[in-house]
């Protein structure tokens, strides 16, 4: 069977891995994570191996995982926020749009290539995680679910960033939107959830505050990961609400993105006609 890989994907991989930034980010990240993990584990064992506390090891695992989620969430926009707006600014987008690759192919290639380096980062930290197993406390299934969720989050953030970079005509704006989205996901939603929960605790009759609190918590990748780690209590399928919500967000963002790439498809809308030039 002939394997037809998206040509944009291959090109992006080649270009990204040729820059100094990619190996630099990977090296710095792995070094930082290794040093942190070894330090935390040393804190756990205190130089002796007679009395190892698995609960402390679990805490190390949780801390490293949450830290990784924060770093990955804020690194993803750096690779994805200029994906399409950069093509537009470099004046390479028009030519690409006259090839049979098409808008969906372009978006797919950009999302996968933007996620790839981050996925590589997460996969490369597996040996670091395995250090935790030495002292117990975390089971492989839990590690797999945490890493799996991190990968999902990377793809979600990447997709949102690429779509914003398609909608926004300039990379400056797409970067602002991308970091704004990550801030909303990791900080604002969590804060709203916390606020609503506090409200419920002060006034337990107001049950809707608790429901909305759970809703906003479910949109925060840090909270969902904390639920996987058992650090916070949440429903067993909290990640599903996360996936459903962001799938809806992506579906909504896809419409203006396609409009920017192929305004012709939306020519039946009165405000679209005659606007192709500035988008391509």
């Amino acid at each position: 069977m002939k394997l037809n890989l998206n040509p944009l994907l291959l090109k992006e991989f080649r270009q990204r891995m040729r820059t100094v930034r990619a190996p630099l980010v990977i090296t710095a990240y792995l070094f930082g994570m290794s040093v942190l993990t070894v330090f935390l584990l040393y804190e756990n064992v205190q130089g002796q191996l007679y009395l190892v506390q698995p609960t402390k090891s679990q805490q190390v695992f949780a801390l490293v995982s949450l830290l990784q989620m924060v770093v990955v969430a804020f690194l993803t926009p750096a690779f994805a926020s200029g994906a399409v707006s950069g093509e537009r600014e470099r004046k390479t987008l028009a030519v690409l749009l006259t090839t049979p690759v098409g808008p969906f192919g372009i978006l797919f290639g950009k999302v996968v290539s933007s996620s790839a380096l981050l996925v590589l980062l997460v996969v490369l930290t597996l040996p670091v995680y395995s250090l935790v197993f030495l002292y117990g406390g975390a089971v492989p299934a839990q590690v797999a679910s945490v890493l799996g969720f991190q990968l999902v989050t990377i793809v979600v953030i990447s997709t949102v960033c690429v779509l914003f970079s398609t909608v926004a005509l300039r990379s400056t704006w797409s970067t602002v939107f991308a970091y704004g989205s990550v801030g909303l996901m990791t900080v604002i939603f969590g804060a709203i959830g916390y606020g609503l929960k506090s409200l419920y605790e002060q006034n337990p009759i107001d049950y809707s505050a608790l429901v909305w609190s759970h809703f906003f918590y479910a949109l925060d990748p840090l909270y969902v990961e904390a639920a996987f780690l058992g650090v916070v209590s949440a429903g067993p399928h909290v990640w599903m609400a996360f996936v459903e919500f962001y799938a809806a967000v992506i579906a909504i963002l896809l419409i203006p993105s396609l409009w920017r790439l192929r305004p012709q498809w939306f020519s039946w809308l009165p405000f679209v006609s005659g606007t192709e030039k500035q988008y391509q």
């Binding site: 037809n4 040509p7 944009l8 291959l10 090109k11 080649r14 270009q15 040729r18 820059t19 470099r90 004046k91 390479t92 028009a94 030519v95 690409l96 749009l97 006259t98 090839t99 049979p100 690759v101 098409g102 305004p263 012709q264 020519s267 006609s273 005659g274 192709e276 030039k277 391509q280």
Partner: protein, 311 residues
């Protein structure tokens, strides 16, 4: 191969292309000439499926651009007027990437890339990074890129713009070489002279309207019938203009600061008679000289005054 029927594009109240009718046969190199803002880029962009026509139809290789855009895209190679290149890709990787976008078979890609690099005289640059090439080389590479999937039609928008004279000559030679490939080419420029050696037919676009279409040789011959003459002197006002327009060979007269510029279609003897008559009518002529005529400007002026429209 390329057919447009009343192709029109409006941007709000601006009419960028107005009822464009073209019929370009297979293997013809067609030059679309016009000043900046004449509508060349918009017209080509509609043929390249990037811009939707407001009305009218356009067919490329028998495919209607709005109904079968994907089929049109497969049969064209499009070079926009303003383009960029990817950083950190070598020349050969750049060509390979675009060939892959069109689904060209792997075994064909390398051979074709080498052939095209020879054709555009970039064979020795195959391992250089695209962004390190000069502008002229990048523009020649774009022509090669357009040919990587072996399209029947090439749409080249101002391929020589922004080039120095040497690079322009090189590009002209590359364009002339396209004739050997039997491709149908539509190439736009704002300098008609550039197309004299390259194109078979030329169309002049003026404010979105096609005002003249002719074989290049016909157009060159036609333009040689006209001369631009600059006349200067004292008190050359309205009476002088009436005297000028009284000569049947004066196609157009426009005031300069100072003096007048006329477009003259008479012989040298008739030209001498004009000067003699003007002097005898009491006009103090201090200068009466012929100046080189830019073919494109000439045609634009002729078109503008609705005289000398070649069909």
């Amino acid at each position: 191969m390329i057919l447009t029927q009343n192709l029109t594009k409006r941007y709000g109240k601006t009419l960028a292309v107005n009822n464009l009718n073209l019929n370009i046969e297979r293997g013809v190199i067609f030059g679309l000439v016009g000043e900046n803002g004449a509508g060349k880029t918009t017209a080509l962009s509609m043929l390249a499926t990037l811009t939707l026509p407001s009305s009218g139809r356009a067919y490329v290789c028998g495919h209607e651009v709005t109904r079968e855009p994907q089929a049109v895209r497969r049969s064209i190679g499009y070079m926009p007027d303003s383009f960029g290149v990817y950083d950190d890709l070598t020349v050969i990787e750049y060509l390979r990437f675009f060939a892959q976008c069109y689904g060209v078979e792997r075994r064909v890609i390398s051979r074709r890339a080498e052939e095209l690099l020879e054709r555009v005289r970039l064979a020795d640059k195959r391992e250089d990074y695209v962004n390190h090439l000069s502008r002229g080389m990048q523009q020649r590479l774009e022509v090669a890129r357009c040919l990587m999937h072996d399209p029947d039609v090439l749409i080249l928008d101002e391929p020589s713009s922004g080039l120095d004279p040497k690079s322009r000559l090189e590009m002209r030679s590359v364009l002339a070489g396209l004739r050997d490939l039997g491709k149908t080419v539509i190439v736009s420029t704002h300098i008609l002279n550039e197309l004299a050696e390259v194109a078979d037919e030329v169309g002049i676009l003026l404010r979105g309207e096609l005002v003249a279409v002719a074989a290049v040789q016909v157009m060159v011959q036609h333009s040689s019938a006209y001369r631009t003459i600059v006349i200067d002197g004292r008190d050359l006002g309205d009476r002088f203009m009436k005297a000028l327009m009284g000569d049947p060979h004066v196609a157009e007269a426009r005031p300069l600061a100072p003096g007048w510029e006329i477009l003259y279609a008479g012989t040298l003897a008739q030209q001498a008679e004009l000067l003699s008559r003007l002097v005898s009518e009491g006009f103090a002529i201090t200068q009466f000289r012929e100046q080189p005529t830019d073919i494109e400007q000439l045609f634009l002026r002729l078109a503008a005054i609705q005289e000398g429209v070649v069909t």
